[in-house]
Amino acid sequence: MTRIIPRLDVKGGNLIKGIHLEGLRVLGKPEVYAQAYYHAGADELLLVDSVASLYGRNGMLDVVQRVATDVFIPICVGGGIRSIEDIRQALRAGADKVLINTAAHRRPGFISDAAEIFGSSTIVVAVEAIMAGGSYAAVTDNGRELTGRAAIAWASEAASLGAGEIVATSVDREGTGRGFDRILSAEIRAAVDVPVVAHGGFGRPSDAAGMAVSGLAIASALHYRQAQQLEVDPADYPEGNVDFLLNRRRQGFDLVQPCTIDDVRAGLVDLDAKEGTRAAC
């Protein structure tokens, strides 16, 4: 069965979401969401440090430790993982696997070095893709930096270097709620023998139907649903844009349909939606 993997982007100890033209919106504490998702039946958690390159990572390790407490499902941690020591620290803090992107582009051998030491299943490579000139280009830094590499070929190279999994992100679709980029997922799946997790664009449960990948990484749709059930004390959020959090009951959700993990699971097996192909593992 396809894994359902809530993706939590973290900045300054807060769960955040990037909003077009608004900047970053604080949604709450990642460890609170993580506990809720664990109890709601999430298969795995993906925790990403969204500003790793700018502020250093000590705060993030604390977040990993808090998230990992009392959560007995796999946790993948990414964002600024640049060295063997970074991986070791993430694992020591409670991560079960790490997600790498920029560091692998800079030195592809990092993938094989890391896989050799920690095992392939611990090393997940993030392939972030944008459509450029008719084909998928691999990018880093949330789509801000072109790497000069074709995304599909890069995925293939990463897998042969020892990546245990690929998380394929459509940067074009991310945050839009327009559905996954199925062509990107299909092309990456065809190019590698390792499990592929699709990310970017999930907007409603029917978007999961027929996604024949190993996992679906989902953020907004799950977080907005979860936010509706949160108790919020503004004193917990000394920094960041907390307007959304404080006023959320009055917010509309134009782009995504807030849903639960069970809703996504139902969408996954809904044979009436999309092509009716059963999601393979």
């Binding site: 396809t2 990992a68 009392d70 007995f72 390792v194």
Partner: protein
Amino acid sequence: MLVIVDYGCGNLLSLARACAAAEIQATVSGAWRDVARASALILPGVGAFPRAMQALIDHNLVGPILSHVERGKLLIGICLGHQLLMEQSLEGGRPGSSGTHGLQLLRGGCAKLPPIGVPVPHVGWHPVRPPAGRNGADTTWAYTPLAATAPNERFYFSHSYRVYPEDPRDWLAVTDFGPHHNPVDVGESSYPAAIGRDNVFGLQFHPEKSAGAGLRVFQQIKRMMERL
């Protein structure tokens, strides 16, 4: 005191937390003296078989582990640790070689999951059931770490190799993967999810990452410690 063997191969924090949640008195240690004195052992493992065996040898842990088992004390191998219980693995070997020796506690070997159109490593949650043609779960799983597990409960797997136990009595549980499930356990789409008997057991899945189903396995391990 249960000792989670630390030989540099694996993330042990989750295991320590799961033991704590099940109220098992446990410690993480790579010191052979601690392993020799343990009342029960968990042998974890992530990564490559040959490197893991070499690490066990370098840490002087093979002898204490084998004596521990000989004295009838509980040993549970998890993921790579479950594969290390076998006689050998073909992992990392040159073509035609007989591979690397394991702890040789159970007869049979290990080899890579066959390419049947399912991505490898095999990553995800899969149901675990007693082997076909055997007695049901109640009988097959009694006195094993799966005694508190219901058939077809899902556990989290993440691995590229599987075990091939030669003695049918060592097959405790199987899991099916791929779109073509094979209910009679021959062929390549089913493989052992749990092996062992008496005081030596192996779990291919990660009970420490398998939510409630996994925590129940730890509770069962605690019960077994009280009995052995």
